[in-house]
């Protein structure tokens, strides 16, 4: 099958499926589950079939007139790679949902949003039209909102959904402004036209564009200073946290920067800004993860932190390692979220202080989760180790060594909070009277491939490099590696430093009783971490200010007819005066 058929299928089949499931109006639950699974697997199959079709040629294009450009799609390496992640992890999340969402009301709405999202995410990475990038960007935000606030009766969920929608959309304005500028200066919506000649924009405009896109990417990927929406998004059902808020949508920011890197790399201080955003996010989020007692929130902070690594990698100039870490992270983070979902579903709480000893009741889930945790902590030989090391190698090669050392320290923090999380949930004695039943078959089936991936996905680096370096990305110079080259890169003395720091992190957990004195000293840090380092305060402040403004304006609607007409006459007088002064 050729790509001009496959791409419409990858986007269209999930969208059609969403419509069909909605129209069922929740009458046949089994049908909805089966249909969703079949459709998401079909999309994944189409994505796999797309691999040999990777090329830089436009695969599919529809003319839409001058204001909208050509709706064109290109199946290049970056796009195909992310489509594979979106559809395959999407299918696994849907399979997991068969058990997780069993008997839930509004299942049609759930699957409709999920399938709509999968199609939109694929569209986002496969299109070369700036308008469509923004189009699909906003659709993913819409689906994210709909799924976070899926349980509409829970005010926390509704607040979380609207918060996510607003914060990511505010960032989206950056993408909007940038896309419009691009069109105005290049007279084309095709991003490849821009990438082939970035200097068509005057230097100031190019810098503005680069930083606007950074804002959009940071908001979408929950990076500093927009990180507050992701933890609150954990109100979503766990398969959604796995799919949208770990594996796919939050990676859209990283994708945007990776895609436009050739054009922005030359902007003064742009790469430094990206690195700073990445490092700050990684560091602050790791601290917040360390102090949190909510299992999903720990994973959310962890996602922010790992995305920080990806941003950092792009900032150092190594787009390849950022994408490779994206690959590893999608797998192990989805694994962790689905595993957490299984635990929460079966135990009935998200509070880790009430867990403990779950491993005895749910051994399968425990081992799956531990595999994911090892990958997250960067323990050899799981996939997280290789990709994190590549990023740190790239970081060590830059001039700004301070940032490198902070990232190494964060690797240690990661190991520490990961240990804490695994221990609090699965080991020790139960700290409350919970009743845990075993995970269902669908959950187990969904976890297995992800665990296998976490163990061996790094072996596919040859194929991964070929995909990205196949000539389908003519403007990117990617430092792609094959397996032996990766060994060369990673097996150096430099690697021992992060490994040592990780070991220290793990040891800190096991010797925590001895370190209790030091932990008490950091009580003020716990306070800061719980309040998201003041950013939550900023959010609340903005919301309150807007509401107060709106409330204050209400006096203008007096309801007195005489005053209304006075306003009409005053307008005339004001406009006359303006003209009299001006003219």
């Amino acid at each position: 099958m050729s790509s001009n058929l496959l791409i419409p299928l990858i986007i269209g089949v999930p969208w059609l499926g969403a419509l069909i499931i909605l129209l069922d109006k929740d009458r046949h639950e089994k049908l909805q589950h089966s249909l969703a699974v079949i459709i998401s697997l079909a999309a994944a199959a189409a994505a796999v079939l797309l691999i040999p079709q990777t090329s830089k040629e436009v695969a599919f294009s529809v003319k839409m007139g001058s204001a909208f450009g050509n709706f064109s799609f290109v199946a290049d390496g970056l796009g195909v790679f992310l489509t594979l992640i979106a559809t395959i992890i999407g299918s696994l999340a849907v399979i997991f949902s068969v058990n997780y969402m069993h008997g839930e009301e509004g299942l049609g709405r759930y699957y409709a949003y999920v399938l709509f999202f999968i199609g939109a995410m694929s569209g986002l990475v496969l299109t070369s039209n700036m308008l469509l990038i923004f189009f699909f960007w906003e659709i993913t935000a819409l689906c994210s909102y709909g799924l976070i606030s899926f349980h509409n009766d829970d005010p926390k969920a509704v607040r979380g959904g609207i918060k996510a929608l607003i914060i990511t959309s505010v960032g989206g304005v950056g993408l909007l402004a940038g896309a419009l500028l691009l069109f105005v200066y290049t007279q084309s919506y095709d991003l490849n036209v821009f990438l082939s000649n970035p200097s068509v924009l005057p230097a100031k405009m190019l810098a503005f564009l680069g930083f606007m896109f950074l804002v959009a990417a940071a908001a979408k990927s929950a990076q500093f200073p927009f990180q507050t929406w992701l933890p609150d998004a954990m109100e979503a059902p766990s398969p959604i946290s796995a799919l949208i808020h770990a594996a796919t949508m939050v990676n859209a920011g990283v994708y945007l920067l990776a895609r436009f890197f050739p054009a922005f790399a030359g902007i003064p201080y742009w790469k430094e800004a990206v690195m700073a955003v990445g490092v700050l996010s990684a560091f602050l989020a790791a601290i917040m993860a360390l102090f949190s007692n909510d299992l999903k929130r720990v994973l959310a902070y962890s996602t922010v932190s790992q995305l920080g690594y990806m941003f950092y990698a792009i900032g150092t100039g190594d787009v390849f390692s950022s994408q490779f870490h994206l690959f590893s992270h999608s797998i192990f983070k989805a694994l962790l979220f689905l595993g957490a979902g299984a635990v929460i579903h079966c135990v009935g709480t998200r509070d880790m202080t009430k867990m403990g000893g779950v491993g005895k009741k749910m051994p399968y889930v425990q081992w799956m989760f531990i595999i994911g945790a090892l990958a997250l902590a960067g323990i050899p030989v799981l996939n997280g180790f290789w990709s994190k090391e590549l990023i740190l190698e790239a970081g060590a090669a830059t001039d700004v060594k301070v940032l490198y050392w902070i990232m190494v320290f964060v690797a240690g923090l990661t190991a520490l909070y990961t240990c804490r999380m695994v221990w609090m949930v699965f080991f020790g004695e139960p700290r409350s009277d919970y009743h845990a039943h075993r995970a269902g078959a669908a959950m187990k089936i969904a976890l297995a491939p992800l665990a296998a991936g976490a163990l061996v996905s790094w072996l596919s680096i040859d194929w991964f490099s070929k995909l990205l370096n196949s000539g389908s990305l003519p403007f990117h110079t990617l430092k792609a590696l094959d397996l032996t080259e990766m060994f060369h890169e990673v097996f150096t003395l430099q690697t021992l430093i992060p490994l040592a720091v990780i070991a220290v992190g793990i040891l800190c957990w096991f010797f925590r009783a001895k370190l209790a004195g030091i932990t008490k000293l950091f009580g003020w840090l716990r306070y800061l971490a719980d309040h998201s380092f003041g950013f939550e305060g900023i959010n609340t402040g903005i919301v309150k200010a807007t509401q107060n403004c709106a409330e204050g304006l209400r006096v203008t609607q007096t309801g007195i007819l005489g005053l209304n007409i006075l306003a009409v006459l005053c307008t005339i007088i004001i406009l006359f005066s303006l003209f009299a002064i001006g003219v």
């Binding site: 001058s66 909007l176 807007t546 709106a550 209400r554």
Partner: protein, 507 residues
């Protein structure tokens, strides 16, 4: 068919049918049977469909000619151009949907026959406004439109709130019309003619009469178009009117005021581009004020009314930017403004029809005239899944989210603004974008309320929704989703309409 005949029929058909519908319906009331009323209703639908056919045949000949078709009724010049086509298209689609919707909604209401008669008169007057080519007739059709709506807004004449809203609307609108007439008089005094083509070259940039006339025109027609701070009649009128009329008011009546203003301002703009700047700034004010006021509303229809004020702001920004700098950057802003006019009619029409459907089944069907509040919507989706879904589509579209049409029309407007390439215009782009997000802050919670499990008491006690209400809503939904993924469908009409901005009368 002879195109002149088609255009004249398009104008006179609804106007002639209006009294016939009234008489048919009246006979029903006098005789105490339902037959006459049913005939009247069917006849109304037929006339609107016929009007649609006439519009289609006229447009078929006109599309692709990229100019206007002029003809005469006596000595009065009328012309069919892009704007006329767009107005007729919107009014036919909305009129059809509103009529079907109103069959159960207005059933057994006191004065039902007057409703359909006035609706047809409204449709006819808007068509007339679209094809007027001189100042006087423009004003006449504007007045006929206003008069039709006065009675429609105050339709529930037993309810004090409706009467109050109608009276305020009448008075404020009359002030606006008077000011507009003064403006026309001032312009006439300088040129000696009411024919718009003759205005080209009649003024110089230093002529004070130009500015006096222009300001009076903008403020006069601006009252109807709900420019801030002339908008204060709108929340009352749109929320108290029967829901079908709210849809018409927000969807096409306030836009007709805008179109009338533009017909004149476009010609004045040939002398000095300051008019574009005024509209651009006023547009931004509309967007901000409309959004902030809607944020605190608890009554659903009032919230939608304030939302209309904001949406008119988007159109003004599009038109304003083309008037201000269009000669260097092209007509994208104005084309976007007209596109937004169309999508807003669909989306706001759908929103009001959906809110109206819920208002009817939860309150009106039981004879309760209390307004629909946000708390009433809790859990409505289980009992009214279609209405809830379509209402959500409308609200998300109004908030500018894809894949609804509102996203594409806002995009086109912003392309027009960005083409200015100055820093403050980029700031306007960011301002409009942020306001779009602000609007989501009041649209999204409505959707969340509808999809709760826990139903409000009124929902549990609510009646079933009639398919007369569902069908027009489905039509509008399909339109919104179609344009959302295929925005160039309407370009054949919006682009010629926008071309008038830069070359009125084709020379």
């Amino acid at each position: 068919m002879d195109i002149n005949f088609l255009i004249k029929s398009m104008l006179f058909l609804p106007l002639v049918a209006s009294p016939i519908v009234y008489l048919l319906g009246r006979s029903s009331v006098r005789k105490g049977t339902f037959l006459g009323m049913s005939f009247a209703k069917m006849f109304t639908v037929l006339i609107i469909l016929l009007e649609g056919c006439l519009t289609y045949f006229t447009a078929k000949d006109w599309i692709g000619t990229s100019s206007s078709i002029y003809t005469n009724i006596g000595t009065v010049l009328i012309g069919f151009d892009g704007v006329s086509c767009l107005m007729s298209l919107i009014v036919v689609i909305l009129g059809f949907c509103v009529t079907l919707f109103s069959f159960p909604y207005m059933q057994d209401e006191d004065g039902e026959e007057k409703f359909y008669a006035l609706l047809l008169a409204l449709i006819g007057s808007i068509v007339g406004l679209g094809i007027s080519q001189d100042l006087f007739n423009l004003w006449v059709w504007f007045e006929v439109m206003a008069i039709s709506t006065y009675f429609l807004v105050a339709f529930y004449h037993e309810q004090p709130a409706s009467l109050e809203a109608g009276f305020k609307y009448l008075t404020q609108s009359a002030v606006g019309s008077a000011l507009a007439l003064f403006g026309i008089a001032v312009l006439f005094s300088q040129t000696g003619t009411v024919y718009l083509p003759s205005f080209l070259g009649a003024f110089t940039a230093l002529d004070p009469m130009l500015y006096i006339g222009g300001i009076l025109i903008i403020v006069g027609f601006g009252v109807k178009a709900a420019l801030v701070p002339l908008h204060t009649w709108l929340p009352d009128a749109h929320s108290q009117a029967p829901s079908g009329i709210s849809a018409m008011l927000s969807g096409i009546v306030i836009e007709a005021g805008l179109v009338a203003m533009l017909r004149i301002v476009i010609v004045l703009n040939e002398v000095t581009h300051i008019w574009g700047l005024i509209l651009l700034v006023l547009g931004c004010v509309n967007i901000l004020i409309g959004n902030l006021m809607a944020l605190r509303q608890t009554e659903v229809k009032r919230l939608l009314a304030y939302s209309s004020i904001a949406q008119v702001g988007y159109m003004l920004v599009g038109f304003g930017v083309t008037l201000y700098i269009g000669f260097t950057t092209g007509i994208t802003g104005a084309a976007g403004g007209y596109f937004h006019m169309f999508t807003h009619a669909l989306m706001k029409g759908l929103a009001f029809l959906a809110a109206g459907a819920l208002l009817y089944v939860l309150h009106l069907a039981k004879g309760n005239h209390s307004p629909l509040v946000l708390d009433d919507l809790n859990g409505a989706s289980k009992k009214y899944p279609a209405v809830a879904l379509m209402f959500s589509v409308a609200l998300l579209g109004l908030g500018g989210l894809p894949p609804m049409a509102g996203f594409m029309s806002k995009w086109q407007i912003l392309v027009g603004v960005a083409q200015g390439q100055t820093a403050w215009l980029i700031a306007v782009v960011i301002f409009v974008g942020l306001n779009s997000i602000l609007s989501l802050a009041y649209y999204a919670p409505i959707i969340n309320r509808m999809y709760r499990h826990e139903q409000s008491e009124v929902v549990t006690a609510g009646e079933a929704v009639s398919s007369w209400m569902i069908t027009p809503m489905v039509v509008l939904t399909i339109g919104i989703l179609l344009l959302g993924v295929w925005p160039s469908l309407i370009s054949k009409i919006t682009v010629p309409a926008a071309n008038i901005f830069l070359s009125p009368f084709g020379f």
